[in-house]
């Protein structure tokens, strides 16, 4: 009888210790989940990392993903990428592995590194499921849009829409008809115009006020340099050179900003069609 009592005491003690240990890790994860739910991502991250340190390899996939998600929300995409990589390493199911690979690519996209995202997408094998192929095409389409290869982008985005959805396909086709406008104003044209006539590059880029300012300032300096005493040019030339170079740089920047503005407007229309 004593044997049975001892055995049952030891058994309960042993099972209780295991329970306590597992509960502890579970409670840390639950606590981190609740923090994450209340948008306290910084502290949630701290708790998830603590749990990650003690977790077994079966839980590391889930924890890596949660840590990566926190970093993603905190806009630390490089660290998010590292933990999605870790999740990818620990994941057992193919579907999860593909999902983590997509999240990793999304991190590259959020970092504006569309070229590298395209490379990763080329390496990614999603198999035969149509929904995954469409997802890959959607990602590729947006990446090609990011690297300003609009023809390739159009093709991939068309493939991302289901076959029967002719309305969205025609909307997309209609939108892509005006894709040539996205390449204007050209930065090189703006630079050349600014070299020939100061300020004209900014005017070409749509910044008329800045263009006039540059033209008047450099015109005034040119007048001071040529129509005053002999010593005038010596004083004026360094200033003229600085503002002349500044005008060229500003023309390039203005063209880039205008193009980005246009691209964002175009992209908003694109997302309305694609993500409806």
């Amino acid at each position: 009888m004593a044997k049975y009592i001892l055995f049952s005491i030891f058994y309960f003690l042993f099972s209780f210790s295991i329970e306590v240990k597992s509960n502890d890790l579970k409670s840390i994860i639950n606590f981190a989940d609740s923090l994450s739910l209340h948008r306290n991502y910084q502290n949630a991250l701290h708790e998830y990392k603590r749990a990650f340190f003690f977790a077994g390899s079966d839980q590391k996939c889930q924890l890596s993903e949660k840590i990566a998600d926190c970093y993603f929300v905190l806009k630390e995409f490089q660290l998010a990428r590292t933990f999605y990589d870790s999740a990818l390493h620990y994941s057992i199911h193919d579907s999860l592995r593909i999902d983590h690979a997509f999240q990793k690519v999304l991190c590259y996209m959020m970092e504006d590194n569309f070229g590298y995202a395209l490379l990763k997408l080329d390496d990614l094998e999603v198999g035969t499921p149509i929904h995954l192929q469409r997802r890959k095409n959607l990602y590729q389409g947006i990446c090609y849009f990011g690297v300003e290869q609009y023809d390739a982008s159009h093709q991939h985005l068309l493939n991302s829409i289901p076959e029967g959805d002719t309305i969205r396909k025609s909307q997309l086709h209609q939108l892509y008809k005006s894709r040539k406008k996205l390449k204007r104003p050209n930065s090189n044209v703006a630079i050349i115009l600014s070299i020939v006539v100061p300020g004209s590059g900014q005017v070409y880029s749509g910044d008329i006020k800045d263009g006039l300012n540059s033209f008047l300032l450099l015109g005034g300096l040119f007048y001071l340099g040529t129509c005053t005493s002999m010593i005038g040019p010596v004083i004026i030339i360094p200033f003229f050179y600085r503002y002349y170079m500044g005008g060229i740089l500003h023309a390039k920047q203005a063209a880039g900003e205008k193009r980005n503005e246009k691209r964002y407007g175009y992209y908003s229309n694109l997302t309305e069609i694609l993500l409806q």
Binding site: F72, Q103, M110, S214, Y243, G246, G247, H250, E261, Y267
Partner: protein
């Protein structure tokens, strides 16, 4: 309700909850919302009009007005030449605000003499984000 029917319901409930758990687990970050944040153009806005407000003397108003004119019509056409943050003109206007017109302007001239390409990190902390040396007033 008989026992086999009960089992069927329980099995369906377990299947649904398992599927919900899997979906929730794999879709923590939705790519739809992330895609909408792509390609947002950066907006650069610098408002220096605060320097013209609450000035005590006419001299300070004149200097602040000159500073604003310089910032808007001359400095805006320049290349990024100043090695410090805040820039020499901003440093001067802050000096005028804090120490008065004469000493503030002298401080500004001192800063102009210190602003050259031979400045090194031993004298001023270097900010890797702005790529400028930090020298506040």
């Amino acid at each position: 309700m008989d026992i086999p029917k009960n089992r069927k319901y329980i099995f369906i409930i377990i299947c649904i909850s398992f599927a919900c758990k899997l979906t929730g687990y794999s879709q923590e970050i939705s790519d739809t919302s992330a895609f909408k944040t792509l390609f947002i153009p950066e907006v650069h806005t610098e408002d220096h009009s605060k320097y013209l407000e609450n000035q005590e003397s006419e001299m300070k108003v004149l200097i602040s007005f000159s500073f604003l004119f310089y910032k808007k019509y001359i400095s805006s056409q320049d290349v990024e030449a100043c090695v410090f943050h805040p820039s020499c003109s901003e440093y001067t206007i802050e000096a005028v605000e804090n120490k008065g017109a004469i000493i503030g302007l002298l401080d500004g001239f001192d800063r102009l003499l210190r602003c050259h390409s031979f400045v090194n990190g031993r004298d001023y902390p270097y900010n890797t984000v702005t790529k400028k040396y930090h020298d506040p007033h």
